[in-house]
């Protein structure tokens, strides 16, 4: 499996298929027992390079509560840059930038315990972004969020991706793969599929991989076969509704 810089990769698979193990390999939190893992050209097995790898690859975990170290929002975001030994001016700049990107700037002086679940996850993302990584890995970071919180997080990631950041998103929601360029499907610790996301959006591929096709995808294919959707319409609710409204002149 090879991920080029600047791409957005989704990793999906059943529970226990090895998604989180793969995510931790990218940050050198786990190292391969067999084979090799190179991140930005650095071997994750080399202990002298692991810190450098973590500087380039930030991680956001599933439960934000378990990754927040500080009691105040801005101090939490500053934790990573402080570990990098940056100057106080640079740390403050990074904190301000990360808080603005994640829409938490007005909460800078709030206690972390007073934030909602969605805000806490955005705070975890801000903490990771303040490291100014080249790649961000999200290990089921949307799983504890409500639809609104998920939408906010994906919007932030989309913006960062357009600015050139590599995004690796571990998810168990098949709908979320639609945001990515590439998708990897893991099954029992093995890579069952890795390729362009659009190549996966085919019922036969789903059947071959033994994955239940999401109803949204079924609807998308059905509407397309009836000529109600443009060939190029991507299977998101918004795209489909907009296309339908245009076609039916509503």
């Amino acid at each position: 499996m090879d991920v080029e810089e600047g791409r957005w990769v989704s990793v999906v698979g059943d529970n226990g298929s090895g998604k989180s193990t793969l995510a931790k390999q990218l940050n050198a939190l786990l190292v391969p027992t067999r084979g090799v893992c190179f991140v930005m050209g650095k071997d994750t097995k080399d202990p002298s390079l692991q810190w450098e790898i973590r500087k380039d690859v930030s991680m956001v975990f599933q439960n934000p509560e378990n990754q927040i170290v500080a009691s105040v929002v801005e101090e939490e975001v500053a934790f990573g840059p402080e570990n990098l030994g940056l100057t106080s001016v640079e740390i403050e700049e990074r904190v301000r930038w990360a808080l603005k990107v994640t829409g938490l700037f007005e909460f800078a002086h709030r206690p972390t315990y007073a934030l909602s679940g969605g805000q806490k996850q955005r705070l975890a993302l801000a903490g990771a972004l303040a490291m100014k990584p080249r790649c961000i890995v999200l290990d089921e970071a949307t799983s504890m969020l409500d639809p609104e919180g998920r939408k906010d997080l994906v919007e932030v990631l989309t913006r960062l991706h357009h600015e050139g950041m590599t995004v690796v998103m571990i998810t168990h929601r098949l709908e979320e793969i639609l945001f990515s360029d590439l998708t990897a499907v893991l099954s029992r610790g093995k890579l069952a599929f890795y390729g362009e996301t659009k190549d996966l959006l085919d019922s036969t591929t789903f059947a071959l991989l033994g994955i239940k096709e999401p109803p949204l995808f079924k609807l998308w294919r059905n509407l397309k076969s009836r000529g109600l959707l443009e060939e190029s319409t991507y299977p998101t609710v918004r795209n489909m509704v907009e296309d339908l409204v245009e076609r039916l002149c509503l």
Binding site: W51, N66, Q67, E92, R110
Partner: protein, 270 residues
Amino acid sequence: MHFLEHLSLGQYVPAKSFIHSLDPRSKVLAVMFLITSVFLANTTLWPYVIWFVLIVIISSLSNISFKTVVTSTRPVLILIVFTLAINLFFADGRELFRIAFISITEEGLLTGIKMGLRLFYLVLFANITMMTTSPIELSDGIESLLSPFKRYGLPAHEFAMMMTIALRFIPTLLDETDRIMKAQLARGADLDSGGIIKRFKALIPVLVPLFVIVFQRAEELAVAMEARCYRGDYGRSRMRPLMWGVCDSLYLSAILFISASGVILDRWIL
């Protein structure tokens, strides 16, 4: 379970105030002076009046209401009452009155009040410091104060980081305890009736999952910290490096003067 909803022992209250802006080292040293003086003064009750006025002044300078500061000591109220009762019932001296076979003495009453007040002031001083200093600042301050002992092998940074995390997780673990208690109550657990031993036994189904969760959280936090390049104190900088200013010297001098005055008044004048 209501006590869990209002508990705020040592919880940081972010605000912009004179006390908030002070260097954490001056606040830590000030609280040490105050606590020492509270324990050195043991003759009269007058110094407690001085310290009471001091707390009112500090709370007004910190933009935190005096009521909030006092209310935050509620979790240790039982301990204070217990201290008062122990001294009241078991001290020798001139008998004031008698309840059944227990003799209440003048010395017992006075010592009980003093010991209770000492404990109350100790918690109050520590609390107001923690309410006006974020845990990260507090740990930075303590780390800096302990740094001379690093050469003797004291892990100052690790100690301070441990304290930061402990303080950060107080509200989280209280929420967790509350959730477990509600889950056990929903399944028919009886946590509120019976004697002490029965109540303690009833708490076991709450404590066991709580401990499991604490260990899980600790492990996940350690991984998350490592992922964010944490290597202990090595190569670590600060967003706001500690800066000792004139205000800190003035504040500490004032506290030192008041603490010493309290002890001198108590021991040699009053």
